[in-house]
Amino acid sequence: MNNRQILSAAIGSLLALGLVSNASAAGKKMDMEQCYGVAKTGHNDCSSNKSAHSCAGQATKDRDAEDFVAVPKGTCAKIAGGTLKSA
């Protein structure tokens, strides 16, 4: 197949899918009002009043003053070779 034929075949398959895609595009418009609902924890949703909570929880003096030995202690232990190589 030459380049032109490859393009025609590939775009042809897209056009064949046209009806399906357009249907899902219409579905997306219907979903727009979910914008607030889909904001999950960890997505920084400002409307969730999250910042107010964090302020309340931290109305203290600087609590980061003490230093500790910096060793990663998370799930990185499950990634083989992750701590053995140096950059």
């Binding site: 775009i11 398959s13 897209l14 400002c46 003096k61 910096a70 202690k73 990634i79």
Partner: protein, 260 residues
């Protein structure tokens, strides 16, 4: 002459850099000295930025653990000030910061995971765009297909890494079992980040698909991008790639001829 701007700068330096506030900074709280009031304010400032970073980099936080992540963000916050009223813009430099962060040097894949997470973060907040108009595409005469310039959806990003970052990312998503073991030597990964129905999706692309998409992202025409990709990756299948990318909502629109 003292102006409001000087006072605000003084105050900002005390909060952001931890400098001694000038004597012009006063507190209206009788039970607090200025020094303590500044410390409380400063801790809130840093606490909010920490939470912002934890929101943008949840996988990094899981990988290194909460204590290490707090140390990492504290140093980041000391180095990078918040420069936008929109907190969603904060944290863009994390991948580069981690690459230079001495205590994390052993975790060689960490900067790439951070780049992937930032791409997801940006994808989530990217503006919307119409999906590819198949009806409009059907009106293009086939002889003009090589001249098509495909536009990438604003939420779409490609992060290429020597490490299996796509697998690492998926192992840390809500609902994942937590029971995983990833071999860092299992190979490079091309993470495609896209957004479909307001949900950010991360999937892996083949080398050929990724090379083609990079060409398209750079504004290369369909014909040229495809020919170049086939030169380097003879197994590249345009039909499979197009169907996958359209399904992932990666292609937004198109025009003919030179890029706009």
């Amino acid at each position: 002459m003292l102006v409001l701007n000087d006072d605000l700068s003084d105050f900002a330096r005390a909060i952001v850099r931890g400098e001694e506030p000038s004597s012009r900074v006063v507190t209206s709280y009788q039970n607090y000295s200025v020094a303590i009031a500044i410390e409380v304010y400063r801790n809130n400032y840093r606490g909010n930025l920490h939470d912002t970073l934890a929101g943008a980099y949840p996988v990094i936080e899981q990988l290194v653990g909460k204590d290490f992540f707090r140390l990492l963000t504290r140093q980041f916050i000391g180095q990078y000030f918040s420069r936008s009223g929109n907190l969603h813009h904060y944290g863009a430099e994390m991948a580069g910061f981690i690459a230079a962060f001495e205590p994390a040097q052993g975790l060689v894949y960490l900067p790439d995971v951070a780049a992937l997470e930032w791409a997801c973060h940006c994808a989530y907040f990217a503006e919307d765009a119409a999906t590819l108009d198949i009806g409009k595409l059907a009106q293009v005469p086939p002889e003009q297909y090589p001249d098509l310039i495909l536009h990438i959806h604003p939420a779409c990003h490609l992060v290429r890494s020597r490490y299996p970052i796509t697998a690492i990312w998926h192992a840390h998503q809500p609902g994942a079992s937590g029971d995983f073991h990833i071999d860092l030597d299992s190979g490079a990964s091309n993470a495609l980040i896209s957004r479909k129905n307001d949900v950010v999706v991360v999937s892996a692309l083949t080398e050929g698909d990724a090379a083609w998409l990079q060409g398209i992202q750079a504004g290369t025409s369909l014909g040229e991008a495809t020919a170049t990709t086939l030169e380097h990756y003879p197994d590249f299948n345009l039909q499979t790639a197009l169907l996958k990318l359209v399904a992932q909502n990666v292609l937004a629109n198109f025009n003919l001829g030179a890029a706009p």
